[in-house]
């Protein structure tokens, strides 16, 4: 009923090539975006912004970046946390070392630096594949951890190794309230999601997917593996670097290398796998699952009256069980569940 497409005819190529060819989808997403921009800042509490919405948005962006690499191009990476750290520290350095550097430019430059590092660590992917590549990218993670802990220059000679960013400005708009920060992140995420969606629909995205599905066959039909793999690494690291810079600048305000530890890499990889490999929507689902669910379980546990230690242990157990459950029920992730739901709704209420 809800998804009946009767009468929706595509009369031009442009209409056929839209991101959301079905009208219901289009309006739903438009309404969602509008609500996110207009409704949410009015109703959400400060706790919602700071503890849930902002981390969710930023980690969605990072998951989006990782999904391009892992989901679309098939190159497993465990260096995500490291690339986020590169983005954050590079952006920090641009901000403190260049007078009058605008925050947005610093964040984007952070992304560019992460892109450079990402391409550098992506070079081994030309020779090694699968699990071996995962180990090679792990080196990126450890190298970044080491560099930001040890090389004092990166932290502007901070004695404790912790750096902080003071207030952010964007064209005269001072970003200090939680709602401002949320809108700032939302802008970034929306823009980057749009870019990602269009990239994966274009010829470059098809090259990535061809590499993922079978690299030898892809090379035979004329796709250059070097170009395809390195662009995937570049785009993915750029996204992740920007997410890292936002994580430091907007979410934490002051951070240390531990904020981008190996745990973060695993967390993001889980987001991508649980959300759905090779799906833009899935990155958001995955981020929501990993960010919001533990907090919900924890709050619920405490509300029910468990003591904090027990609640925290239960959260771990339930969360772990849910991950296993979801992967058994639907190995292709939450995004696949979503599309199954849509398929069913197309036939509802008269399945045939």
């Amino acid at each position: 009923m809800l998804y009946r497409e009767n009468g929706q005819f595509k009369t031009s190529y442009a209409a056929d090539q839209q991101i959301f060819p079905i009208a219901q989808d289009r309006y739903l997403i438009l309404a969602l975006v509008a609500a996110a921009f207009v409704l949410v800042p009015g109703v959400a509490s400060e706790y919602m912004f700071r503890a849930i919405l902002i981390p969710f948005l930023i980690l969605s962006l990072a998951a989006l970046g990782l999904n391009i690499l892992v989901g679309y191009c098939g190159q497993i990476s465990l260096g995500t946390g490291g690339f986020m750290a590169v983005g954050a520290y590079a952006a920090y350095n641009f901000l403190v070392r260049i007078d009058g550097m605008p925050a947005v430019a610093a964040i984007l430059m952070g992304g560019v630096c992460a892109m450079a590092v990402g391409v550098l660590f992506g070079i081994p992917s030309l020779r090694i594949k699968g699990l071996y590549l995962a180990v090679a990218t792990l080196a990126a993670q450890f190298f970044c951890d080491w560099a930001f802990l040890r090389i004092k220059w990166f932290t502007n000679d901070s004695s404790s190794g912790s750096v902080s960013v003071s207030e952010l400005h964007l064209l005269g708009w001072t970003i200090d309230t939680p709602a401002d920060k949320y809108l700032f992140c939302l802008g970034f995420v929306l823009l980057f999601a749009l870019v990602a969606k269009n990239l994966v629909r274009s010829h470059i995205g098809r090259e990535w997917m061809a590499m993922r599905d079978m690299d030898v066959a892809a090379a035979v039909i004329g796709i250059r593996p070097v170009y395809a793999k390195l662009t995937a690494f570049a785009v993915s690291s750029f996204f992740i670097g920007v997410a890292g810079a936002l994580w430091g600048f907007v979410h934490l305000g002051s951070w240390e290398p531990a904020a981008f530890s190996i745990d973060r890499s695993f967390q993001l990889l889980f987001m991508v796998i649980i959300g759905g490999l090779g799906s833009i929507m899935g990155s958001f689902f995955g981020a929501a699952f990993i960010v919001v669910l533990p907090i919900l379980l924890d709050i619920l546990g405490v509300a029910v009256g468990f003591n904090t230690a027990l609640a925290s242990h239960l959260t771990f157990m339930v969360f772990g069980a849910l991950i296993v459950f979801f992967l058994i029920v639907e190995p292709h992730g939450l995004a696949r569940l979503w599309s199954i739901g849509k398929e069913k709704l197309r036939l509802w209420p008269f399945p045939h």
């Binding site: 305000g253 951070w255 240390e256 530890s261 919900l296 230690a309 639907e330």
Partner: protein, 444 residues
Amino acid sequence: MKLKTLVVGTAAAAALIGATFSTPALAQAKEQFFPVLVYRTGPYAPNGVPFANGYVDYLKLVNARGGINGVKLVFEECETGYATDKGTECYERLKGKNGGATVFQPLSTGITFALTEKAPVDKIPLITAGYGRSESQDGMVFKWNFPIAGTYWVAADALIQQLGKKEGGLDKLKGKKITLVYHDSPFGKEPIPLLQERAKLHGFELAMLPVAHPGVEQKSTWLQIRQSRPDYILLWGWGVMNSTALKEAVATGYPREKMYGVWWAGAEPDVKDVGMGAKGYNAVTMQHGTETNSKIAQDILKELHAKNLGTGPKEEVGQVLYMRGLMSAMFAVEGVKRAQERFGKGKVMLGEQARWGYENLALDQKKLDALGFAGVMRPVSTSCADHMGANWARVHTWDGAKWAFSSDWLQADESILKPMVRAAADKYAAEKKIERRTPADCQS
């Protein structure tokens, strides 16, 4: 997956979300809210649990005695697992509850750094009793941070003084090799500037060996120690890192008598596994040590544990970290009591008013005796310029079964500390574009 299951699942999830976020705003009178950030799970839990128990027990004790001039305390724990992001989430979750948080004690240097940015905005004071950022002693820049009764710089300074005493004068440290084995995090790096300053002053050789989180991987560190044979080791460790270091010292044959820990590395859980192997190991204490016989510990046993109201096992009462929690909670409560003297007795204090209390703490010997802290600690008196209020420390030594004091009271050398605090605070103020507070602001 069937559509029905999907729909039911979604509905259940939505109900769960709704239930969680629609916590009713209860209007309660005469209740002072103390959020409690703890870590009872994770790699540092063995040390975090006694602290949390002590903290909560003190709040319970105050309530059992009728609250702060009749104002009951309410408290709620939030589990941080010693992770910075979870800590900030807890902060956001608790800061507005029950009429607003009185004070936060982050219990982690990383969380302290993150909250230092947020506290001035939300107008909630932060107490970091004995830890946190050392330059926050300067209240003229750090209006909302209170490292009451000690910072890592005080601890490091006291340790160097103790080493000097052992050698027969600070000048005898010249040419000695002192190695800092530290937890590779802001916490572990905090003492480095002071030690470097002291090294310059006395001419000892300072080597620094970082140990990665959580601290069980120390083989290479101790290989280096075996090679360089330092005269003294300062251990800036936490949790499992401490007992590992002691075991490695036993294996390497490094004399434990020459090892000095920070106060996070000088409690029962750190040495218990090593037992006799740790005999002779020293650690600095920020004033108190194991105080099982102190009046306050006895009071808690009598008024809480005897009535089955206590938190955690009875044997823990009076241990080093338990006492630490107790003392931290005492500061939190005494600040509110002090604030009531100005803003009205028997009233609920807002965060801003409590801040005044923490800035004007005047815990003299008489008050301490009345609270049951006689012999546990020295008087503390904070001011607008000095948010620390006392800079005393002692060293205690593990004799294989218990901790016992092995030094006199040591006072950190203000002539060294003051310029460092000032310089670091000025640097912070310049970075953040904060103006130093004026004397008029001190009255606020």
